[in-house]
Amino acid sequence: MPAAAVRQDDSLPEDLEQLFQEHSRLVYRTAFAVTGSRHDAEDVLQSVFVKLLQRGLPPDARSNAARYLHRAAVNLSLNVLRNRKRRRLVDDVELLEIPAAQGGEHDEARMREESERLTKAMTQLTPRALEILLLYYKQGDSTAQIAGRLGTSRSVIAVTLFRIRARLRGLLKEGKP
């Protein structure tokens, strides 16, 4: 898709409109899962599509826009995480609802600490590792499906997952108080 220059009053350029309709949910969901914040997820969604509006879809991404946009969402979400110390916005309902009413302040503190450790560990993964992690553990894709998405073999994904698990375990241990 060339950089969008012409725009109708009530719609985005056709190609961008199609990408937006088809993939905005994927981008937002991914960003939300990584950042844990509606505001940050919206910022990521806006940024991904502003860049598409200005630069267009890279030629090598045209055959698999979903893959490109998923990676873009992971990259920008990682930027968000790395650029902030874990904020706790009062109006971030999703953050506040995690520990609620399960066992008082102790559990709440433990959940918060666990969440912070996981976030910190994620910031130290590569975008590709985080992408695979999300697809496998969060989205529930099989190694074959991930291999298909990323254009590689199943065995490569299996080995990569093994390494990601080991790395994540190490990072989570490091972060333990």
Binding site: L16, F20, S24, R25, V34, R38, D43, N75, I98, Y137
Partner: protein, 160 residues
Amino acid sequence: VNSTDHDLKDLIDRHLKWPSDLAFTAARDRVRKQLLETPAHLQTARVADAPSSIPMWRMAAAVAVVVIVVIGTAIFWPRGVQAYAAGDDGLQVTLADDSSVEMRAHAEMTVGRAADGIQIRLADRRHHRLRVQAARRAPVRADQGHDGVGRWNGISGKRR
């Protein structure tokens, strides 16, 4: 799927959430509205691209290495031996390769190594006050000073 896998999946499920449909729809509509209302060239991405894939510590280490090399070179680089004919009688100097240099009074030169032998650099910027006799034909070369006119004559030196 082993227990580690389960633990990791549980951890991720506990802390990485999907958004509600309501949250997504609201965000999508706001972003689309902004994309529509503002000219493309005036829009700014709220999240910047990653600055660089090179970690800061690596950049800092590379800069430190360059600084160390530059300073070390400046300190230890052989700059040659300086000779100055202080008296009124001039001076004749015999170099390590048996070349000889005849210096007039108050002439100054620096003798250093060059890739092809010995290099003599004139410090005298006004007059040609050196005569050089090479022990061998090729390797001795006389260079001029910064703005002086150095000359390599090959004339036999004699003690003044």
